[in-house]
């Protein structure tokens, strides 16, 4: 059955109703937004409180561990001292090639066995001064050959013959200045 609908309400009333409805929608949206924000704020605050408690626990544990390490403070210091000493000793040992003992030994091994060494002087700069006595000229030759050999020049940088004299018995006295590397 088809009916006829007639709105007999005044026009102003319809406008007011429309505005009221619109306002209700705005109100609902606003309340929803506010409630959502309040919920979000509560959740984040709660999460932060839980997290802070966790962090506090971790910090306490951290302090305990720090104390645990501090118990061994002396051991750590001893280890640092040991490491420091060993590093410095290694540094000295590695520069041992400059030692006069090494230079002294190297130069002496180059000298023929039948040579008599009267004096040797080796200073900090590696300058090797020696006075030797050779029984004959062949020994002097072999001394010069040995000192000027390739093996000799791995240790020696220069050789200065200061004095060469022959005595009555045929022996030779040689004063030499040897520069080492």
């Amino acid at each position: 059955m088809a009916g006829v609908s007639i709105n007999l309400l005044p026009a102003q009333f319809r406008i007011d109703q429309k505005a009221q409805k619109k306002f209700q929608v705005v109100q609902a949206v606003s309340i929803f937004t506010l409630l959502t924000l309040i919920l979000l704020a509560s959740v984040t605050t709660a999460v932060r409180i839980v997290q802070n408690k966790e962090l506090q626990g971790l910090k306490e544990e951290e302090t305990q561990k720090e104390e645990q390490v501090l118990v061994y403070k002396e051991k750590e210091a001893a280890l640092a001292i040991l490491k420091n000493r060993l590093g410095l000793i290694n540094q000295i040992v590695k520069s041992d090639s400059k030692s006069s003992r090494v230079i002294y030994k190297s130069v002496l091994t180059l000298m023929p066995p039948n040579i008599g060494i009267s004096s040797v002087s080796l200073d900090r700069g590696g300058n090797f001064l020696t006075s030797i006595l050779a029984p004959d000229s062949f020994t002097v030759d072999s001394l010069i050959t040995s000192l000027t050999s390739e093996q000799g020049f791995t240790t020696i940088s220069k050789i200065d013959l200061d004095n060469l004299s022959r005595s009555r018995d045929g022996s030779y006295r040689v004063n030499m200045r040897i520069g080492t590397q």
Binding site: K22, L55, L58, E66, N84, R85, V120
Partner: protein, 238 residues
């Protein structure tokens, strides 16, 4: 009258006033509550991560330090301090030279100590000791080797030898550099990792420990109470 005006104003603009107020409140809640909390949360996550990492480091460090035998470490430190004293230790040097010369059969004619300020090379300082000796020819090289392989780190700096052709002995004057270095004053922080010894250093420390047994410690090694070895009467004229 004013109230009525206000009510009228609200009734007219409530559709605008209501959302504006809610928006303002929302902004305030976001700015002053939600944003700081979210930001704080992420900072907290980072802090947690950092603390956890530090906890692992500290735990590892504590365990590593725990397993290091204290007695052995102390003896190694002592040996290293004997080998490289923290200060000039004349008494030890004289004692050591006397011992070495006795071992090799060398007559120690004189020992001259250099009392001027030591030479500093790369953190290591040295002072000179001049030793005049009278010794058999064949013992000279042994004596030099003994000096350089002695428990105290020393190096032959210069040599002067005179020998009479008729005699079998030598007169030698040796200048020895004796090294020392002050102990480090500052050590690493609690977070710094343990300084582990390298294989080379392990070998060296073993050598030092086996070498240094018979050398008395006379320098002021302050850390260990065991190092206070009596050095004689405090007042020799008593």
């Amino acid at each position: 009258m004013k109230k009525e005006k206000l009510q009228l104003f609200y009734a007219k603009y409530k559709l605008l006033i209501y959302p504006v107020c809610v928006t303002l409140v929302s902004i305030l809640v976001i700015v002053f509550v939600i944003y700081p909390q979210i930001r704080g949360y992420f900072t907290g996550v980072e802090d947690k991560k950092r603390i956890n990492e530090r906890l692992i480091k500290l735990e590892t460090k504590a365990k590593e330090l725990e397993v290091i035998p204290g007695d052995l470490l102390n003896s190694q430190v002592q040996s290293s301090k004997v080998a490289l004293p923290p200060e000039k230790d004349y008494t030890s040097i004289i004692g050591l030279l006397q011992r070495l010369s006795a071992e090799v059969g060398v007559a120690l004619v004189s020992v001259t100590l250099d009392t001027v300020k030591g030479r500093d090379t790369g953190g290591v300082t040295s002072f000179s000791v001049k030793v005049d000796v009278n010794l058999p020819r064949e013992s000279f090289d042994v004596f030099l080797s003994k000096i350089e392989s002695s428990p105290i780190t020393m190096r032959v700096a210069s040599i002067s030898v005179d020998s009479a052709q008729t005699s079998d002995s030598l007169l030698a004057s040796i200048i020895i550099d004796v090294f020392y270095a002050p102990s480090p004053k500052t050590f690493g922080s609690i977070d710094s990792p343990i300084e582990k010894l390298t294989a080379e250093e392990e070998v060296l420390v073993e050598k030092l420990t086996s070498n240094s047994v018979s050398v008395p410690v006379t320098s002021s090694i302050e850390e260990s109470p065991g190092s206070n070895i009596p050095r004689g009467k405090s007042n020799p004229f008593e």
